[in-house]
Symmetry: D2
Subunit: 343 residues, 4 copies
């Protein structure tokens, strides 16, 4: 196990892997981070890589992510590639001693994820996963309130997520099912805000989009959670939402409760014909715009200061275990205890 | 000056004068007040009086309000007749030693109002005027917060009132102008919540309804207020509101502020197409439904317990002075000090 | 089977059975209902009955509810007695041909409830049960929106109820368990707003009050619901709430969603030290004040007009079945289908 | 008059003048703007300039703003220096043919401001002033709604601004008075949202901080506005706010109204002891964080695309005229028409 050091904490060379839509968002956000500068942008499509390089005002573009990782000026890697490549790229970076910020998940199965966790533990290299909701000011405030003890012992967790539009069929066929692909955001919040889960029971249905049935998936689901600390919880998920992105989370304790609501997009309210109207966020890019900026900002801030980064590969492993337990519960029609899901 | 006593404080005989729409509302509200029972309902139109009697399950109907006041079983009078009759009926009740609850105002001129104030002071008979907003739970809470000192020294008062629909022309010709008829609700709140006013400046315009110009009135106005305690204030008024009854009041102190908002009518919110909608109150009967119940409830509660009642004729006089000062300011195009308006 | 008729629909004689706290609330509310007048108030405690009589300005007080029901001037009975007496008193009224408004439930077991349903069906006498939330303006608006089709096909139901204070132990020992006593309000809303349920799974825990364990009851629970129309739902319940009465319900359809929220008690908001505060309802009497008035108002309005009344004994039966299915699920640790619960 | 062209619209060289707190904010925001790169950062204090250069990853630091403007790689200048230097630096940039983004105001007097307006008109060089509220998503939505005609003819404008903390005395002595320094934000919104103003009347008081009296200034004020289109308005201002930054604006039209409210800072709400609490913004940097980013983003976006930029020097002139009219009204104790204020 080695210890990780930076040449100059105030100026960290970065490789961005993947320059699609989210990659471009991360590149723009990196532009405002004082101690990070993009050295190289890699994308298998040369023009996409070049466009990313221009946006990043980086020195080099590359079609080879491994070359980018190994670039001697690079000390940190930002991974925004398809899920199936995450584990390999994280492994390459760990072996090269480069710090990693990666989109979640590491992988869709326990064995591969656990392998990366072991490598990470042995390497001493900082790795942070993109559970961006943890960096939303609303959830950060919720976390502070809970950890401060102000709400008392936690008794109930309740989460709802509705994505605006269902994904295309080709995505459904590879995303690992909606518990992994979508409910996992709320399952991660459950762990982040309340603690580890002991048992789940999940029901799911195809209610509005038959493509989900073709993909052996579902569009609507509900999960009951029993936490190790005794709290009870529920996670509801839907794959469409005509009214916009709809994320609501409540954590109730013995003496207080925190609600993180879907919130209005802008502070403008309109009054018309015996009613008033506010707008809503359209999807995750606008709802979590600040969180996408902060997750990278906090990563480089902690990296530069030599502080640990979080959430790490262990969080990815436990959240994956939870999502797979839900999937097993749904497939087998029975409550599932978390220890049944192993690597 | 006499002292006022009731035969049986747990069962007070009431005469209701005026059985139009608001009279019927008061009659229904009286039905739920334990220590008040309606003895007689009077209205110049015999069928209206009879319908009121049925609704009130009262013993008698009458077309003569004076007869109703003098009824030996009557110990309290509820006056819901046209404004022009208020002063005379209050006077009759005072001389007969009957407690009075009356719709505001006492009269539209200072001299007549001051005369009733003098009679009332000499009589020792309880009189309460229908400034119903003072009994709205929102304004009651605002008053408590201010009086408790929790907000610190008061610095700013800001009020907005928009009526849903403008009144008919015949009403406009006799209502005394919009400062008296409508802004006076906010001017009374200004006095209730902040204290007496020293100087006003008022601007008014006819912006959407030419009938107001015909009545030598206006449909839109704004008033600046200087309070004796140094606070500054503003009162905005409009005679129409397509989106519903729109009442908003804010009082800011050195350390805190209270906002009484237009509020949603029901707790149901609808989410639709990237937006969310709540409903709004349509007009004063639904927005101030609770206040209309409470103003009578509190009156009979205090009456039964031998406690003073409020707001009284003195409040009616001072609020009238304020509304007349605004009218004078608007007519003469200059700021007006309150002491310029005398009986 | 007979047909029910009233002597004078504009003046219906009423017996109120039970003059405790809720009985007094109903008596006051009856005072403002134009076509109802209380003839007799019955309570086993003579002074309580007499106090109720005074409050109702009724002719008679009685310690015998059967005598009150049979009073020839009485055409409708309002039952506010302990749960264990509901079935017998409803039966007596039905046999005497008197219309019934009764607090819920009819009884705590299927057999007794089904017996009353049969009697009611045979009698032709109007019976309405006190599921008061159905008369809250928020839930009424939700119902309208759903029934109008504006929200599209319903996909998700989500309800949370937290009572402010847990009940005393003696109550817990006889209340039939929290699914019957408390969750049943949300289960009734589920049926009212979405439709009949096919299967439930319930988890419950004692998290903060060991008295519940002594009563073989629980203080915190979560229920998953599968509706016959395919929708999925969740009902969360807690027996305490330091922050006040906390009732939140959401119904999501294919194109819109309605949220009935815990709502602020008054429209006054306070701004203080980088934050703003609104108040919350303390318990059901203030949160559902309007609903308690409207459920009686609507009952007498429909009764007077010869229209059917609702919710009736059949609703009480189905909501009971649902609550008992939850109890069975919790006791047996497995999902339960509704048809397993029979009389 | 020349026409303005850029060498490479996708990569505009920028000089940032002034690297204090706001300068650093702008530098960070520039980092995320794809077509702007900072060439030089100038500040009279060498270390501040150097720190700015590092933050901007710029090539050069300078203590001479004129040198920075004239740098051949520089095509656009971002001016974040003290107010007294704005006019001179804008003039230098205009004469050098460099595009200008400058903090407001141009100057505190009409003559100097009008002189720059003339120079700008003659130059054909794009100049945008930092009225950042126009770029807040709430005000942008308000503007769209008004301009679309959806609200109907505008009748009322109402604005409130409360700064969290009063400024230091040395600042008060040079800021030109609170109407210029603070109310001007709302006066600019009045022009932006409703149109030009015809007449004002302003009252002001020293209510909580005697330092304002020493500076011949005031801490609390209220302004009445008559717009040329007939609308009436009011602007309230306070120089302190214990509860946080408090900005509320309403524009009411004949058929609809838009409210831009002070808004919660985060979407987390806390429920505690019969109440609920949300947080509030602490000051303009957090409330208008997005606006500060967008005003530069939009400037460079329009600049790169060859579209006009706005608000320009003419807006600065008219908003200054309005603020000076308020000051004159307050000093002379009378309503003032806008045409009385000339260069």
């Amino acid at each position: 196990m080695g210890s990780f050091t930076l040449r100059d904490p105030s100026s960290i060379g970065v490789a961005v892997l993947g320059a699609g839509r989210m990659g471009q968002t991360h590149v723009r956000n990196l532009g405002a981070i004082p101690n990070a500068h993009v050295v190289v942008v890699a994308d298998p499509v040369a023009e996409v890589a070049e466009r990313g390089r221009e946006l990043a005002r980086a020195v080099r573009a590359s079609t080879d992510p491994v070359e980018a990782i190994l670039d001697p000026e690079v000390e940190a890697v930002v991974i925004v590639t398809p899920t199936s490549t995450h584990a390999t790229l994280i492994e390459t970076a760990l072996r090269a001693g480069k710090a990693v910020w990666s989109e979640k998940p590491i992988a869709q199965d326990m064995a591969e994820t656990a392998r990366i966790v072991d490598l990470w533990r042995a390497s001493g290299v900082p790795v942070q996963l993109g559970f961006m909701r943890r960096f939303d000011p609303g959830y950060e405030r919720a976390k502070q309130l809970i950890d401060s003890g102000e709400l008392g012992r936690i008794e109930q967790f309740r989460a709802l997520s509705r994505d605006t539009f269902p994904p295309p069929l080709e995505f459904l066929l590879t995303c690992g099912g909606s518990f992994l692909d979508m409910s996992s955001h709320d399952l991660d919040l459950a762990r982040f805000l309340v603690g580890e889960v002991e048992e789940v029971h999940a029901w799911a249905s195809v209610l509005f989009d038959e493509r989900f049935a073709k993909a052996d998936d579902w569009d609507t689901s509900v999960i009951m959670l029993k936490f190790r600390n005794g709290a009870l919880g529920v996670v509801e998920t839907s794959r469409h939402s005509e009214w916009g992105y709809d994320i609501r989370t409540e954590v109730a304790g013995a003496v207080g409760k925190v609600v993180v609501d879907g919130a209005q997009k802008t502070p403008a309210t309109v009054l018309r014909k015996f009613g008033w109207e506010g707008d809503l966020y359209e999807s995750f890019p606008d709802r979590f715009e600040v969180a996408y900026r902060r997750e990278l900002e906090v990563f480089f801030d902690n990296l530069g200061a030599g502080r640990p980064v979080s959430p790490g590969p262990d969080d990815a492993l436990e959240t994956l275990r939870l999502a797979l337990a839900c999937t097993m519960s749904w497939r087998e029609g029975r409550p599932v205890r978390l220890e049944e899901v192993t690597a």
